[in-house]
Symmetry: C2
């Protein structure tokens, strides 16, 4: 465990901290420790009572800050006793991004159409990166983890609609992860999760699930083909048509006048 040292973040000896803002003092303290490398992934945070007494705040303020860190994907908290209990630094951004995006879409901070447009931008960047990387290699790029998900989607009649859409989401995320950019991968996870319920709710609007799911499966394979042959422009066009097509078919976004369909 990294020791919490005394710095200019309102230590117990200074003026009393406004209890309504005390949680921010705790958060700033932990952020400073992360920035300075005094805390790194895998480290345990000091116990609640230790942090509370060192920072001169109440234990409830420490708990408030820990909840924030947990939702942002910075720590994992475990109950019980022993060396594995308490809060551990994990730095898993995608969880935090998903919570943020989901709540903001729910609160109308984000328009679902802007979410879809942003998905298009990021996915186009992902397949471009992958196609260029594949084109630059003699043996092409190994898209194995993504292709395995496509194989699972081919199990006709044994995959429910919800399972199919979950595998679909996992395929797109696998491409993002293969491109090696954790920022884009976590943003994509957040975008997708924020509209997950809308995506599933759109299924009954489809004239035929068998037809749509067959088409989606074919489109996924064709995106992989374009990447493997190193054709970035083809891969971009295919991923755009794939995403826009599904949302249009489920009436999730209006088709004709929408700039997405340009």
């Amino acid at each position: 465990m990294t020791a919490v040292d005394a710095r200019a973040v309102s230590p117990a000896s200074a003026a009393p901290i406004d209890p309504r803002r005390a949680w921010q003092v705790v958060l700033q303290h932990i952020e400073a420790d992360l920035l300075a490398g005094r805390l790194v992934p895998g480290d345990h945070l000091p116990a609640e009572r230790t942090l509370a007494s060192e920072l001169g705040v109440g234990r409830s303020s420490v708990r408030e800050a820990l909840r924030v860190l947990e939702v942002l994907g910075l720590i994992r908290t475990q109950t019980g006793s022993g060396p594995q209990s308490g809060a551990i630094i994990v730095a898993r951004p995608s969880g935090g991004m998903s919570s943020l995006m989901r709540l903001q879409v729910a609160a109308q901070g984000f328009d679902v159409r802007d979410v879809v447009k942003t998905r298009l931008v990021l996915e186009a960047a992902v397949v471009t990166e992958l196609a260029e990387a594949s084109g630059a290699r003699v043996d092409g790029l190994d898209l194995g983890p993504a292709v395995e998900l496509l194989d699972a989607m081919d199990a006709d009649g044994r995959v429910s609609e919800a399972e199919f859409l979950a595998l679909d989401a996992a395929f797109h995320l696998a491409l993002a992860e293969l491109s090696g950019n954790a920022v884009i991968a976590s943003m994509m996870a957040g975008l997708r999760n924020s509209i997950e319920s809308y995506v599933l709710a759109g299924v009954p609007n489809l004239p035929s699930w068998a037809e749509t799911s067959g088409r989606l499966r074919h489109e996924h394979r064709s995106i992989v083909d374009a990447i493997e042959t190193g054709d970035a422009e083809l891969a971009r066009g295919r991923v755009r048509a794939h995403i826009t097509g599904y949302y249009t078919e489920t009436n999730f976004i209006s088709a004709p006048a929408d700039p997405l369909t340009r």
Copy 2:
């Protein structure tokens, strides 16, 4: 205020809630109200004690959930009494995105190079959208709010380095906001804030601030020109060169082998 109604989120009458997870019950309850439109921006949340008794949790659990919502940019809390006190739904995503990105970069959940690459992807999308919109209009697009920031940066000798970089960040964000996509704008704000300290720390690495700032000012104007004339490809190329150039010059990212400079 939207009334909190009784739903299947562990009301007080049900089995006792694990106190360590009680804050999640509160969060899920508020998320469900947001999704259903029972809570919308501008609404006050019920008082802490009301939420606590209706959900059968302690007030400290309610406070933990409120802190999470505050950091995610979902609510603003105000102290004091009267109609303006308490927590108000605001749905301001950029604040939450900035906290998330900043902490994840601090905790090494995100590599700063991935942050820069993602910035390039989003900024290229923004100027493409703006240039196409401008090209489609007889009178072009009004980039007034962005241009005003450039005028402020021209006040030679009266703008400090930190002020210049703050105006610079505001200019890029203004373009994102003018493109009308709140998701991209808030992601860009988050990306920029997460590397703000690195950007400022890079200034001493520059051979001449006067020369660099002069070049940056010129580049900003040339990006605006490309957008106004509706040349999306030129605007994309210029914004990429602009961003990559600065980071390369300050040794923030390594230049030659980096795919950014492709």
